[in-house]
């Protein structure tokens, strides 16, 4: 699982320096150290796979213009989405970009979060003007995995060998087989993205104005 080692160290040292700047009693040190470790752990778990720009140009490589749509969803749009999503309301306002080439809409890129097993995963879903999924990628993966933060001892026990062979899982294990990685979260955001495209843009190619919102 990729980790932002540089960011982790930066966060660690920044937090440590902040603590060293003031005298602390023992109990305060315990609390402070746990804060540092939390910061370190959080930073270690987040992995950025695509920056916003990379994600946009990967999904719509031929577009020459990516327009951000900042308008908040209206109450009517929220209601329509909830209906399309079987009563499940859309959490928050999504980040939406319209990708154009020479003025013609190529599609829409929707940045959506959905909780995986424990933490939100940030996806970008590309939808064509016709309402088909162009592509789906993960921008940031923050998933916690128990095995990443636990230190367990392994041993070789096959072919008559019994050799204690301690392994620091966090540093040694790079990938895992046999565990499904939050694909449910991906199917949820894909469904959400398609509903958003349909409600906001329909087949017009431009955002439909509802409730007199600009």
């Amino acid at each position: 699982m990729p980790r932002l080692i540089g960011h982790r160290l930066t966060a660690y040292f920044a937090a440590t320096l902040a603590l060293l700047a003031q005298p602390l009693r023992l109990t305060q040190w315990v609390v402070a150290t746990s804060i540092v470790l939390t910061v370190e752990q959080w930073a270690a778990e987040a992995a950025e796979y695509y920056s916003l720009e990379e994600a946009l140009t990967t999904i719509f490589p031929e577009a020459d213009d990516y327009q951000r749509d900042d308008r908040a969803l209206t109450a009517t749009e929220h209601a329509q989405l909830a209906e399309a999503l079987e009563g499940k309301p859309l959490p928050g306002n999504p980040l939406i970009y319209t990708a154009k080439k020479a003025g013609t809409v190529q599609g829409y890129a929707l940045v959506l979060d959905e909780v995986g097993k424990h933490k939100p995963i940030t996806f970008m879903i590309g939808v064509t003007p016709e309402g088909a999924v162009q592509d789906a990628l993960v921008m940031v993966f923050r998933e916690t995995r128990g095995w990443e933060i636990r230190r367990k001892r392994f041993m070789k026990q096959f072919r008559d060998k019994t050799m204690p062979d301690p392994i620091d899982i966090r540093s040694d294990i790079t990938h895992v087989t046999g565990a499904t990685l939050s694909s449910r979260a991906a199917t949820v955001v894909v469904r959400r993205a398609l509903a958003l495209q349909q409600v906001l843009f329909g087949e017009q190619g431009t955002r439909i104005s509802i409730d007199g919102a600009s």
Binding site: V138, K152, H175, T177, G178, A179, L181, S182
Partner: protein
Amino acid sequence: MAQADTLKQKHSLKRKARMRYLLGTLCSIEGYGSDDSQLSADIECAFTAMKTVEAQMSRFNPDSDIGRLNRLAYDAPIQVHPATYQVIRSALEIGSLTGGAFDPTLLPITQLWKQCEARNRMPHASELAHALHAINQDAVRLNADGTVVFTQPSVQLDLGGIGKGFAVDQAIDVLQGAGMTHGVVDAGGNLRVIGAPHSEVTWNIGVQHPLKAEELIASVELRDQAIATSGNYERGVRVGDEWLGHLIDPRTGYPVDKVLSVSVVASTAMLADALSSALAVLGLACADQVLHNWSDVSALFVVPQGDHLVCVAKGAPCNWKVMQDVADKA
């Protein structure tokens, strides 16, 4: 990651990782190289190869090769892409070498059990017999001219148990063709590695504990190899109070629960993918007999033994490392 850092320092190699939603799962590709933009381009090409496999072989797409075969191939040869032809041929070969424990025509039985789950009842004997009749990989004929024909009307192909592995292999081919010497393609835990992060260290892959979601049960070091795991612990069918795993024995039509999981290390992800399913169906007792067909395939079985779990390695020698407390109560 310590290995990766060492690699960066010693060889100034850059690391790039990307994750996409493909083949119904989250797929990641991680590569090392000297040129950052070239790495990105190579990884995107590898993803494109995986998307091509999905477009050709998904049974959910009526226009894919498999979609067309399932609609039209009875008594009428259908031309398919050479890659689809190759995967069908491999599926049939593995089916034959595993005595039918792997079967790409299993779909009618899988669908029957899903229907039964929805209705919360066990299948009737007549329903099972009808579905079993439709399972017949001998009715899939590959012609020398690149066409495929079904000799039985009810037969349906589903490459779900092998296609993901093939997609991983295709991505690896693209990366190796671009000159990548270190990397990994991971399609939801069905993964294959190129080389190793360091000349003296191999890729360490964790094997999920079948009963404890937050833990690993074993690890294995890979070098230019693939690994896949099949188990009954994450997906399955529930009928009434009875939990039935998703692994179904194509020979009987019934779900099997001989093992909790089987991890297979092989030279290709396609073989690891298909063999992990077949060995989970066959169980430990038949493992030697089947693995005898391949000189370089290793398998790690996790099986219940009383109120304990045990790990048993079969096949070619492999450096499995198992959790010290694997024999503890699950």
